[in-house]
C-alpha cells in the first residue's frame, strides 16, 4: 500500500475514483494515510495505512536494557506520553516483583491525569480546526502549554518527561509545586466556559458532528473500541474503575457516558472527562502532602538487571482508551518481546475504515479526529 508498491489504478467503468488521503493530514496528529474510494463525494470504502509513522518501537525495545526503554516509550504517543511510561513501568515492576512506594503511586496518578487534561485540550484544539475554528485550536495548544510547564518543572522535559522508571518516579515534587498545579487547574477550569461557547455548544460544530461516524455499542465492542469512544456508545467502562491500578480505588470520580456513539458524543465525553480529571488532580493535591515515604523502590544496577522469566500484561486508561503492555522476559537484561496494545490501533484502522465507509468526503476529518487516534501508537 506504500507509494512504491502503488499499482496504477485500473479504472472500472464507474464514477468511482481513489483518493490518497494523507500521509500528512491535519485530521490526525502525525503521519497517517487513508486510501479512500469515492463515488462523487461519497466514500465507497476506505483502507487505513498507519505505516507512515512506523518506528519499530516494539522491536527496538528488545535490544535495549529494561531501563533504557523508559526513554523510548513516551514517543509511542506524543500527546499523551505518561500512560506509556507508567504502563511500561508497571509491567517491569510486576515482572521484577517490585512494590512501588505509595507516594510514587500518587505522583503517578497526578501525572496521568495532568497528561489526560493536556491530551484532551490538544485534541479539542485539533478537532475544532477541522471545522475551521482556528481560535479554538490556538487556545487548546496554548492552554496545554500550561500543563507542559508543570511537566517541565516536575521532570525536566516538556513533552518527553521520561520521569517514571521501574520502581517509581525520578524526582520528588518541587517545593510549592502543588500550589502551582492548583493555580493551573483553576485557570483551565475558568477557561471551560470559553471553550463551551466557542466550540462545544457552537452550532457549527454540533451540526457538523451530530450523527457523523456513529457506531452502536455492539459494533464498538466487536471492533475493540475502548476509552471515550466506547463510553460515547453508552457503556461506562473505564480501566481506572473496573480494573484499578495505582491508587485509583481511593479516588472519587465519575465516568461520563453519552449514548449517541457519534463524533459529537465522543467529543462531549472528552469534554466531561476534563472535569473529572481536574477533580482527580485536586484530590491528589490534597492527599499527596500526607503521603510520606520514598518516591521509588530501589532497583538493582540497571546495567546488570536480569528480570525473572515470565510474561505480564498490564493495562491503564489513557486519554485514547485502554493502553496495555504485554511484556515477555526470558530472564535476561532486556525484554524478549514487548507488545503495545495501543488503543489507537483499533480506532484508526478497523473503526475508521468502517465509519468512513459511506460517509462523505468532508466528514472524514471529523470522524478521524473524533476518534482521537494517535498514529505512532497504531503501528509500533
Amino acid at each position: 500500500m506504500r507509494p512504491e508498491n502503488y499499482e496504477a489504478v485500473n479504472h472500472p467503468p464507474s464514477n468511482e475514483f481513489e483518493l490518497f488521503f494523507g500521509p500528512n493530514h491535519p485530521g490526525i496528529e502525525g503521519n497517517y494515510a487513508l486510501k479512500v474510494k469515492l463515488n462523487g463525494d461519497q466514500v465507497v470504502s476506505a483502507r487505513a495505512d498507519g505505516g507512515y509513522l512506523h518506528r519499530g518501537f516494539e522491536k527496538l525495545m528488545e535490544g535495549r536494557l529494561w531501563i533504557q526503554n523508559i526513554a523510548l516509550v513516551p514517543r509511542i504517543c506524543v500527546p499523551d506520553p505518561v500512560p506509556m511510561e507508567v504502563c511500561y513501568s508497571l509491567a517491569v515492576e510486576e515482572l521484577g516483583g517490585i512494590t512501588v512506594p505509595e507516594r510514587a503511586q500518587w505522583i503517578r496518578v497526578l501525572q496521568l491525569e495532568l497528561s489526560r487534561i493536556a491530551a484532551h485540550l490538544f485534541t479539542f484544539g485539533g478537532h475544532a480546526a477541522t471545522t475551521g475554528m482556528y481560535s479554538n485550536m490556538y487556545w487548546g495548544v496554548a492552554d496545554r502549554d500550561q500543563i507542559l510547564d508543570l511537566f517541565e518543572e516536575l521532570s525536566g522535559g516538556r513533552v518527553y518527561h521520561i520521569y517514571n522508571i521501574p520502581g517509581g518516579v525520578r524526582r520528588d515534587i518541587p517545593t510549592g509545586y502543588l500550589e502551582r498545579v492548583t493555580r493551573t487547574l483553576d485557570y483551565i477550569e475558568s477557561r471551560l466556559p470559553d471553550y463551551d461557547n466557542l466550540f462545544f455548544t457552537n452550532q457549527v460544530f454540533v451540526q457538523r458532528a451530530r450523527g457523523i461516524g456513529a457506531m452502536s455499542q455492539e459494533q464498538a465492542l466487536e471492533w475493540g473500541v475502548t476509552g471515550p469512544n466506547l463510553r460515547a456508545t453508552g457503556l461506562a467502562f473505564d480501566v481506572r474503575r473496573d480494573d484499578p491500578y495505582l491508587v485509583y480505588d481511593q479516588l472519587e470520580f465519575d465516568i461520563p457516558i453519552e449514548q449517541a456513539g457519534d463524533a459529537w458524543a465522543r467529543t462531549l465525553v472528552r469534554r466531561q472527562e476534563l472535569v473529572q480529571s481536574i477533580r482527580i488532580v485536586r484530590q491528589v493535591v490534597e492527599r499527596l502532602p500526607h503521603v510520606g515515604g520514598p518516591i521509588r523502590a530501589l532497583i538493582p544496577n540497571p546495567l546488570a538487571w536480569n528480570l525473572p522469566a515470565g510474561e505480564v500484561y498490564t493495562r491503564v486508561e489513557s486519554s485514547k482508551g485502554e493502553l496495555a503492555y504485554y511484556v515477555v522476559s526470558t530472564g535476561g537484561d532486556k525484554p524478549y518481546r514487548v507488545h503495545v496494545r495501543g488503543p489507537s490501533a483499533m480506532h484508526a484502522v478497523q473503526v475508521l475504515e468502517n465509519l468512513t465507509a459511506h460517509a462523505r468526503l468532508e466528514d472524514i476529518a471529523q470522524i478521524m479526529f473524533s476518534l482521537d487516534a494517535c498514529p505512532p501508537e497504531v503501528d509500533r
Binding site: W139, E152, G157, D196, P302
Partner: protein, 610 residues
C-alpha cells in the same frame, strides 16, 4: 452530566461571546526566551576534575550517543582509577533522558538549563560536543537535571561482611571474615557498572568485571574460569590480596567500592575443589614438551610460574626449603587472615596440573644451583624476602630482640619461641600488625592476657598497614602508638631486656624526600617489654647464589635486576616475585606469569632455531 450547558442543536449566539477576547489579552503566550526549569534536561555539563573517564555513561546511553574520547595530556592513572578520556555527546542522537547523569559514578555529569543550539550546514559538526563545566556555548546557564539521591542508579553501599567479634577472636586463629553468602554475593555483584578500572589497576589484570558479572548471573563456574585465567592463587587473593582493584573502583569516588576481593573469595568457596581443579586444567597441553624448568621457592611467584609452565607442557620442579609449600602466604600471613586449608587448596590445584613440589630441599645445601643449571633448561629464582631488616639501634642484637618474619614463620611451624608476656613491635606496616596480633593471641592463650604495643614511625593517617588491619588490631586491644621512632632497646645490668625507648617523630622525610627522620628528643618514652620485635621490612636471602654468581649478576638497591621477561643477565637464570618487585602477593602472581611467558617464549624460540 449537568455541568455542560450544551443544547442538542447547539447555539448560534454562544460563539459570539468570544468577541470579548478583543478586549482581553491573548491566551497564547508571547514568545520570549525564558530560563528553563530547575530540573531541566538541556545540554550536558561535565566536571572534568571529577570525571574519571570510566565510560559508564556510554554504557547506559540508550541512543549510543556517547563516545569516550581520549584527551592526551589529561591525568591517567590506573592505580587511582583515572583514565584520560571524557565523554563526547552526539546531539544528533541524544534524547536528553538523563540516564547518563543518573548512573554517573562520580557525579561529574549533569544536564544544564541551556536548550538552544542552531548552526549552519558548514557547522554540522558542532552537534558533536565534548561537554565541559560551562556547557554547549561556553556560557554557563546553570545546572538542570543533576545527580540526586532521588534518581541515582548507582548503589553506593557495600554488602556488610560478617566478622568474628573481637571478643571471640582474641585467643585463637580462627578466620575473622565470614565470607558472603549467596544472597550477599549476588547483591554485591549487582552493583558493578563494568567500567574495568579494576582490570587496569590489578597487577595481574584479573578479569574482575567478567567474574563479577558471572557471579551476578549465577554462573559461579564461569567466575572461577575467569579467575583462573590470570590467577592460580585464587583462594589466597580472595582473602589477603592488597586489592588495588578496589582502590581504583569507580564506585569508590562517592561511595564504597565493590568488594571485589570478597566476591572472588565467594566464587572460590562456592565451588567444590574437584570442579576448580577441572577448570584450572582446561587448556593444558597434554603432550610433554621435553623441557625441564626448576623453580626455587614455592611462594606465589614461583608456583604461578610453575602452574603456567606446567600447563604449557613443560616439566616443572619446585624446590622449597621449608617443610610446606606456599612461601609467605603460609609462613608470613597468620591463619586468622588466611586459613592454611585454603592455601592448601590453591596448591593442590597447582599440583594437579603436573607441578612437582619438593619440600625441605634447600637449594645451596641439599642441591646446588650449579646442579640445577646442569639438569634443567631454565632456573627461576623466586626466593621472596625472608630476612627481617634490623633497626640497628643500640642493643638491637639482644637475643630478646627478634625479627617479625622469623617469629611468624616459627608461629606457623608451631615452634616454641618463648611467647613473651609483654612485647613491643617496631613498625607500622601489615607485617607489624600481623606479628602484634599473633603475639596477642598466643599471650591470651598461654597467659590469659595480652600486652602488645605497636610503635609506628608514621602518623596514624599515613600508616602503611591497611586501615582495616589497624582497626582490627585496635579492637583486639593492641596499643598502637603513632609517630614514635625507636631510639634504643634498653637492657638492665643483668643483661635482661627492659624494653624499648622511643622518641616522638617530628618528620620522616627531608626536603628532598629522602628518608631522614627527625625526632623530638624531649618526648621520650620507655615501653617496657620482655621482647622487642622489629617489623620494618624484609630483604632477600641470596646466599645460595654464591660469590661468583652474585658478582656476575646485576643488582639495583639490593634487588636483582631482570629484563622485561624476568631474565637476569645470565641466560639460564630467571627471577620473579618479591625479591624483584618488593613484597605484594598479587604482584608476585603477575610476575610469575611474566617469567613463565618469558621462559616459554625462549624455549619455543630455541626449539625452532635448533
Amino acid at each position: 452530566m449537568a455541568d455542560i450547558p450544551y443544547k442538542d442543536k447547539g447555539s448560534l449566539l454562544n460563539p459570539l461571546k468570544a468577541l470579548q477576547f478583543f478586549a482581553r489579552p491573548p491566551v497564547t503566550e508571547p514568545l520570549e526566551p525564558r530560563p528553563a526549569s530547575a530540573n531541566y534536561r538541556g545540554f550536558h555539563l561535565n566536571d572534568w576534575e571529577k570525571c574519571i573517564g570510566c565510560g559508564t555513561c556510554q554504557k547506559v546511553c540508550d541512543n549510543a550517543a556517547i563516545t569516550m574520547v581520549r584527551i592526551p595530556g589529561l591525568p591517567a592513572d590506573p592505580a587511582q582509577g583515572i583514565r584520560d578520556q571524557r565523554p563526547a555527546i552526539d546531539y544528533g542522537r541524544c534524547c536528553w533522558c538523563g540516564l547518563c547523569v543518573d548512573i554517573c559514578p562520580t557525579a561529574s555529569l549533569a544536564l544544564s538549563r541551556e536548550y538552544v543550539h542552531t548552526c549552519t550546514d558548514a557547522e554540522l559538526d558542532s552537534y558533536f560536543v565534548l561537554p565541559d563545566p560551562n556547557g554547549m556555548h561556553g556560557r554557563y546557564y546553570g545546572h538542570g537535571w543533576s545527580k540526586s539521591a532521588d534518581s541515582d542508579l548507582v548503589d553506593l553501599q557495600r554488602q556488610a561482611m560478617g566478622e568474628l567479634e573481637p571478643s571471640a577472636r582474641g585467643d585463637n586463629f580462627r578466620e575473622i571474615v565470614a565470607g558472603y553468602d549467596d544472597q550477599q554475593a549476588l547483591l554485591e555483584a549487582s552493583r558493578c557498572v563494568q567500567c574495568g578500572m579494576c582490570f587496569d589497576a590489578c597487577p595481574t589484570h584479573m578479569h574482575a568485571p567478567e567474574y563479577i558479572r558471572a557471579i551476578w548471573e549465577g554462573r559461579v563456574e564461569d567466575a572461577v574460569r575467569w579467575i583462573y585465567r590470570t590467577n592460580p592463587f585464587a583462594h589466597v587473593c580472595g582473602r589477603v590480596c592488597t586489592h588495588r582493584c578496589e582502590e581504583a573502583c569507580s564506585l569508590g569516588h562517592r561511595g564504597e567500592p565493590i568488594a571485589i576481593r570478597w566476591l572472588k573469595r565467594y566464587a572460590m568457596d562456592a565451588l567444590p575443589p574437584e570442579r576448580v581443579k577441572a577448570i584450572a586444567a582446561e587448556g593444558r597441553v597434554a603432550t610433554p614438551s621435553g623441557r625441564r624448568v626448576a623453580i626455587v621457592g614455592s611462594g606465589p611467584a614461583g608456583l604461578t610460574a610453575a602452574f603456567d609452565l606446567a600447563k604449557r607442557g613443560h616439566a616443572v620442579t619446585v624446590f622449597e626449603g621449608l617443610p610446606e609449600p606456599g612461601g609467605m602466604p603460609r609462613y608470613g600471613i597468620p591463619e586468622y587472615r588466611l586459613p592454611y586449608a585454603r592455601l592448601d587448596q590453591d596448591i593442590d590445584v597447582i599440583r594437579s596440573v603436573g607441578v612437582d613440589i619438593r619440600c625441605s630441599t634447600w637449594v645451596g645445601t641439599d642441591i646446588t644451583l650449579e646442579e640445577l643449571r646442569r639438569d634443567f633448561d631454565a632456573v627461576v629464582l623466586a626466593l621472596g624476602l625472608q630476612f627481617g631488616r634490623s633497626t640497628r639501634i643500640p642493643n638491637s642484637d639482644h637475643p630478646q630482640v627478634r625479627k617479625a618474619v622469623t617469629l611468624l614463620r616459627q608461629a606457623t611451624a608451631g615452634e616454641a619461641f618463648g611467647t613473651p608476656r609483654s612485647a613491643v613491635v617496631i613498625g607500622g606496616g601489615n607485617v607489624a600488625m600481623d606479628i602484634a596480633r599473633t603475639l596477642a593471641r598466643l599471650q591470651r592463650r598461654e597467659y590469659g592476657a595480652a600486652r602488645v604495643t605497636v610503635t609506628a614511625l608514621e602518623a596514624r593517617s599515613h600508616f602503611l598497614a591497611d586501615a582495616i588491619e589497624v582497626l582490627e588490631a585496635a579492637e583486639e586491644e593492641i596499643e598502637i602508638l603513632d609517630a614514635r621512632g625507636p631510639r634504643e632497646c634498653v637492657v638492665d645490668g643483668a643483661g635482661n631486656l627492659v624494653g624499648l625507648r622511643s622518641w616522638r617523630v617530628k618528620s620522616i622525610f627531608d626536603a628532598q624526600g629522602r628518608f631522614a627522620p627527625v625526632y623530638d628528643e624531649s618526648d621520650e618514652r620507655l615501653h617496657e617489654a620482655e621482647m622487642v620485635v622489629e617489623a620494618i621490612g624484609q630483604v632477600a636471602d641470596t646466599a645460595l647464589l654464591g660469590e661468583a654468581l652474585t658478582e656476575r649478576l646485576e643488582w639495583r638497591r639490593g634487588r636483582l635486576r631482570v629484563d622485561a621477561d624476568g631474565r637476569t643477565s645470565e641466560p639460564w637464570l630467571w627471577a620473579a616475585g618479591d625479591m624483584v618487585n618488593g613484597p605484594d602477593v598479587v604482584h608476585a602472581v603477575a610476575d610469575g606469569h611474566r617469567v613463565a611467558a618469558g621462559i616459554h617464549a625462549w624455549l619455543e624460540q630455541r626449539e625452532s632455531v635448533q
